[in-house]
Symmetry: D2
Subunit: 343 residues, 4 copies
């Protein structure tokens, strides 16, 4: 195993600590913590030592076998770390999220829940200096998904109102923070009110549409980000003003919902989704380039984090599966020392 | 009543022939043919003598009382005619479609199913010289709706494939013609095959999705224009490729449909509608300005037309209500002479 | 003269204090302070009592007779005030800038350098509560021009670099503040460094292109806002990266500049201008609607202001003409009391 | 040398006929016709047998040594041919233009003026069946440049007017044809009138602006495509209406032109260029995918062509250099047989 960032190529195959999905199932059964060969960067690729890597619901879904990933596979998409291979990027502190790392889709690349990962150079984005490795590793998927939907797809403008279903989740929190910076009003609908949220709707007890109309003086929301899917599709849709827009980030295939098509057609709504795993890694890196100055200047702040050593990954995954109450679970593959370095 | 285009202002109120919705109901009961005062153009408006004016399904819906229009009201949106008031536009041959003429919405302006109509100057578009008045009056709503959805909203590009549900209807025919000019492939789904359509799906007997996949070598359609609503919403949606787009032009409020939200979210579809009655009349006029050169050069051709004198309007409306088999029903408010001039 | 906001319609024509351009020339000769009839709002218009109204270089140019405005004319475009006519907006505190108020263009409406002004309802935007009338009246043209160019036309994104020529001027300051909020890097080129500017180029002594390349590690700026015109056109153009974009807000017609067309064509630059006086007043109001939440939340802050009673307008105009060193000159038509209320 | 399309891999290195730039200079000195190794397709690449390949001015400039291409190099960007390597695309007839083939830029790939060329799979576009190989090989650069500027960058709409400087050249002809299909009016400015052009300005004798104003009833052109550069920059710019747009495709670095910046800034013009050699090859292939149905349906027609065997390339290049009067010079690397097949 390489020690620290003193990685040196030699004829003998280097080994590293890694999490591996070895079978489909709940985290305790599916995930192994074991020694794996350090991957070799190919042409146009770099080797990154991973200092922090968040666990996302998508990773849990992947470990559960729902994405058809061929096993064994190192999971994980998010990361903050240091480029340890030679070349133009050597020594750079980087952050980001590989959209389909550790999955069956696209290039079938091993993921970031390991000491090292190889990445295409075009996927690299410099880490904000203001963030520790742990903080930078906690941004990942939740922020690029929030940015892609709220800014790039729906083009939220200052003064607009956005309804965020499941707003207490990590993507919802990221979207709320982005909306606040953007000068927009965020209305969060969820089962509990996240800290610091001004406009909250209790999704388990309120009529969402009625509540949105009240918050908007009867106009309806300009847009909605639906992070929940099925059950809140129709209420979110009906909360929009004429010509409003809505993006969903995932919905389970079942059950079907019943809704009136006339809502979309006659009220000229714009409904779409984001299949983030099919995004191009270089495009995702450009989103992190845009997020960087906003974190540097304090317009955006990292979420609350709970850190785990790599060997406790199964427990971290289980925490995400149980619902992590707005706290990001972050693995630290370089061990306790890294945690110390993180702040 | 003014004779011909010899319209002169005088102190005595001029009268004109007009169709009037006097009660809600089927055409024979709701529509009266009677003498009405010639409207006075206001500031920035012109008076147009209507030579031809198509009857659209929306007019039938309006006469049936489903749009809440205050009665009595002169219905009708489409027109081809001549500006007979003084000013910059005097004598111009114009064509177009007022998006909410003869309806309760917006300005509550009387419609075009009369000898004269007043229109804002900004709504005017010069008639193509190549088309007769009758032909020009038959373009109207079906073409601006097809253009707004297919070109402006979905941006159909050469080489793309578009599924058109209800493609045998007038909007469907217009969309098919526009797609052909655009260098795209149009697949028409309906209960009978319109003349000259190459790619046809019998919507009453076929599995639409299967048929579309066959026409597209398994890729799915790039976009869909749904002119039917409810029943074909899900099949049209499922016929789209990943990241495909769909626009509907109207759906009855009931019944609700059942469909999997995951279709939209996880396959990143883009679904919207066009509420054409809320479009700005000047924007609609700019669409007719774009259609003009395409008719002048023969890239687009007017539909088959059946003409009616104004006094037989109820019969013309009933024909539209019964399903007019791809033939446009056009009123000729200036009488038989106009018909002679039309071709 | 109406007193305070107690404006009441009566048969006798109300009078008000106003600035009037009575002849073309330098401020002391062209501007009169005198009593004028209070304007009557037309259909769809409101009467606004002006509490604060900035003087812009455009007003000075207008008073000098360079815009061909028919005289006499009340000048002034910016304003903050209160709607004093009856109707939906009665009592509202509003702010904004009429793009061609007090000028020959378009509707030839009298301007805001008077106690009262009539405005179309669609031009209204609610004043941010956080700003005093004086502060709100100081935003006006400089901010909507900066927003229209930097955000709407060039779409500045976080992490990008913008060169602002004449960056010490009021539009330049506004653009710098907007860029900072946006998470972008602003490089200011001018003859003196404004307070708080991090990246400054002395335009009178430095090679602008060299300096920009240094600030951007050799890449060049992503975009430029040229508020100077002629002399800095080519240096700004040459400071851009390949595929960069540039917008100018005004240039004197003479002298012509010499420059290599190849710069634009072969480096794929995007060069345009903003003719702000031709913007639609309702569109401008939507910009103020977007600026409002950014001032409310403190992302943007009003400039340093020097206030003047209306009778000293000629002096205020002269101060703008002399170069006001980054301080906004604001007229207070409601007198000293308003100044006290302002903070 | 492989014979016909019977290309077979073997241990011995295959040879092919090719044109090679061996020194910078006029065609007769710089170009050699000789035997070269058949290139080996790499991962994700195919081998294409070239049946027809146009000579463009860019190739002549390249052979003259003005682009800094490292020598020796096989030049040529355009092609029509057949995929002769194994794999998904084997046997496909393809057409297109590699944006920087045979040049120093980007990947330094050898060009198409040879019997065989390797291309990335993502660059492939199926040849229209309606065109012969010779015709398809003549479309290339002139059409993708015209499409990228007129359709993608400037978004020409039906009813608009476009001024095309140098409109008798190959790009100008392509742009004129595209404009006609689009339902727009093309005004060609050049030194001689190409066949079939309706609106022509003699650029050597007329005042271009005056002539454009006459063709447009005083409104000015909506857009301009400047294929000439320097000398016609200002006249083209001044022919545009307020808010008009202009794109140039190349200008020699010298001489500088003098022009009033106020033209761009105060009239809100949009001026840009296309650096086509930096376009992505896959994006260019998507343009050919869009051109295909327009040629299949006869909306666009191939230009007049003069064909040359590969050994006479220097003569073909010289013809382009001398000015080829609207006739496309096309090389036929597969020899006379191909010519016979072409028509």
């Amino acid at each position: 195993m390489p020690t620290g960032s003193h990685y040196s190529r030699s004829n003998e195959q280097q080994q590293m600590d890694a999490v591996v999905i070895q079978a489909s199932g709940p985290p305790a059964q599916s995930l192994a913590y074991r020694s794996e060969p350090v991957p070799e960067p190919g042409l146009g690729e770099v080797l990154v030592e991973v200092h922090a890597a968040a666990v996302n619901p998508l990773d849990v879904v992947n470990a559960a076998g729902l994405l058809g990933t061929p096993l064994p596979m190192i999971p994980g998409g998010d990361y903050a770390g240091i480029v340890v291979s030679d070349g133009d990027h050597a020594g750079q502190e980087v952050w980001g999220s590989g959209p389909a790392l550790g999955m069956a889709l696209g290039t079938k690349r091993p993921g970031t829940h390991a000491r090292f990962v190889t990445l295409p150079e075009t996927w690299l984005s410099r880490k904000p200096e203001r963030l520790t490795m742990t903080e930078a590793g906690a941004i990942g998927r939740s922020y690029f998904v929030a940015w892609q939907t709220v800014i790039n797809a729906m083009e939220l403008m200052p003064g607009e109102t956005i309804l965020i279903t499941g707003g207490a989740g990590m993507v919802g929190q990221a979207a709320t923070a982005i909306a606040r910076w953007r000068g927009a009003k965020a209305i969060v609908a969820d089962r509990h009110r996240p800290d610091g949220v001004e406009h909250f709707i209790d999704a388990s007890s309120s009529d969402i549409r009625e509540a949105v109309l009240e918050f908007t003086d009867g106009r309806g929301a300009d847009m909605a980000l639906d992070t929940v899917g099925g059950a809140l599709f129709e209420p979110a849709l009906r909360s929009l003003r004429f010509d409003g827009r809505m993006t969903g980030i995932f919905s389970a295939p079942e059950p079907k919902v019943r809704f009136p098509v006339a809502e979309i057609y006659n009220r000229q709504l714009h409904v779409t989704g984001l299949a983030s795993v099919f995004m191009d890694g270089a495009d995702v890196a450009r989103i992190f380039d845009q997020l960087r100055p906003l974190f540097e200047r304090g317009f955006l702040a990292p979420p609350a984090v709970k850190t785990w050593p790599l060997e406790n990954s199964a427990e971290a995954y289980q925490t995400v599966l149980d619902g992590s109450a707005g706290i990001k679970q972050v693995l630290l593959p370089t061990g306790g020392g890294a945690q110390g370095r993180s702040r």
